[in-house]
Each structure stands twice: as C-alpha cells, then as structure tokens.
Symmetry: C2
Subunit: 145 residues, 2 copies
C-alpha cells in the first residue's frame, strides 16, 4: 500500500508539468470529476399532472439545497412502460461525501415539505419500498464523454 | 419576423459588452447550450451479459461517430421493473441539426455493424417498434443545472 503510494508520488514528481496526472488534484482534496447517479421510481397516473406541475416550478429552497448538496445537471424524465408511468432521474455529484450530503438534504425542512408533496405521487419499486425509500438505483452500463 | 430580428439585434448592440446576451453566439453559429435527450428500451435477459460486455469496451469507431455527431455526456443505465430489464439512456446534444447528425450516425458503416450486435439484445417498446425504431423518447419533467 505505502509502496504503491510512494511509487505514484515519484511518478507524478517526474512527469512534465502539463501532463494530465500532474494536474490532478492532490489526494487530500476532493476530485471534481462528477460521479453519475441513475435512479427509477413509479408515478401514480392520477397524480402525474400534479407532479409535472410542481416540478415545472420547483421551490427555490429545494433547488438551493440540491445545489448545496453538490448535485449538478439533475433531470427527471417520465415514460410509459406496459401501461404504467415511471420516472427516471439522472444527476452528477461533484462533492466528496455523497452520504453526508444526502443526509443534509434529508434534514432540510423545505426539502421535507417538498417530499410531502412529491412522495404521494410516487410508487417505489419493491427494492426501494423494502428500504423505506422512493428511488431505486439503476446501474450504469455505458458512458462516453 | 424581420422586425423582431432587427429589434433583437438592436438590443444586443446596445447592451454592455460583458452581459450574457452580448456574449451569446451569433445567429449563424450553433448554440453550444446542450439539449438533453432521454430514452428507454427493453433488454433481453438472455442477452444482457453480452450487452454489458460489449458496452464496457465500445468500439472506438462507434465512440468517434457519437462524438462527431455532437453527442456528449452519453450514459446508459439498466434497471429491473416487474421482472423485466430496461435500458435508460441520457445524452446531451451540442450541435445545431439533430436530425442531420442522427442521419450521419445511421449511415456510418461501423455504427451499422455495432447495431447488428446490439439490436438483437433489445426489445423496443411498442411505440418504437411501430416506427421500426429501438429507443422510445422519454419526456423531461424536471431539470436543474
């Protein structure tokens, strides 16, 4: 472990200054390379219009919390599969402690009020429901910049 | 139409140089503000491993064509819904003629060979199948930068 670290530091020290690795952030600083998150949940058909309407004018406090939680480029799309509606979310996380940031979001009173509006619109898939959660993670299988 | 254009040009000419609109690209140049595309399709369970495997090492010619077609930040995620597998794609388009770029992708021989590998893995939803297509568009209902 230490040997690998020393070899890596040596390698970086010997590299030309303009090269990509030499420009990489130090090990103590968070990397700003975004990590992508995909998730899915169900949408109640009788609540779909309300869900779309509130998301078209998402409360400023909710958007502010998303931004403070280091979430970027966050979109939710809707699609119909076999007669049922599903929501798919995509976002990029640019912080260095995802769990801590998500706990901050969950502790935010305005976000809690927002979720009181949105959660009755959603039908969690069984794996999320079993954990008392709303969104199920989807695994990324392809990416190109 | 012409009056609006003249008024807009006048407005831009009168604006301070540092303002956002004055820095916008001219009307003859493509806007680089990405347009987001979301889509969904089914995945045959018996072909899933093959689909993941080839996408983990997507052919360079296919990636090059994606890049040349002004597609950026392109990811595909997989999820299981009611015992079936579905693929969700997200990408950003930075060109100024999406249809023309997609026609170029479809005309690329390497991409055609790639699709010969991937299409047997996929189960288009009925709306896509009816058009002879693979992916169904999903409508974006929320976005924050």
């Amino acid at each position: 472990m230490y040997l690998r670290k020393i070899l890596l530091l040596l390698l970086i020290a010997l590299m030309p200054a303009g090269s990509a690795l030499a420009q990489a952030p130090s090990m103590n600083q968070p990397s700003r390379e975004p990590k992508r998150y995909h998730a899915v949940t169900g949408l109640r058909p009788e609540k779909a219009d309300y869900y779309f309407k509130i998301h078209a004018a998402t409360w400023p406090g909710v958007l502010k919390m998303i931004e403070q939680a280091n979430i970027r480029n966050f979109s939710i799309a809707v699609t119909e599969i076999e007669g049922k509606l599903y929501l798919f979310s995509y976002f990029e996380y640019v912080g260095d402690d995802f769990d801590a940031d998500m706990r901050r979001v969950a502790a935010d009173p305005e976000t809690q009020r927002w979720w009181k509006e949105t959660e009755p619109c959603q039908i969690p898939l069984p794996d999320a429901a079993a954990k008392g959660e709303i969104w199920s993670s989807a695994k990324e299988v392809f990416y190109t910049r």
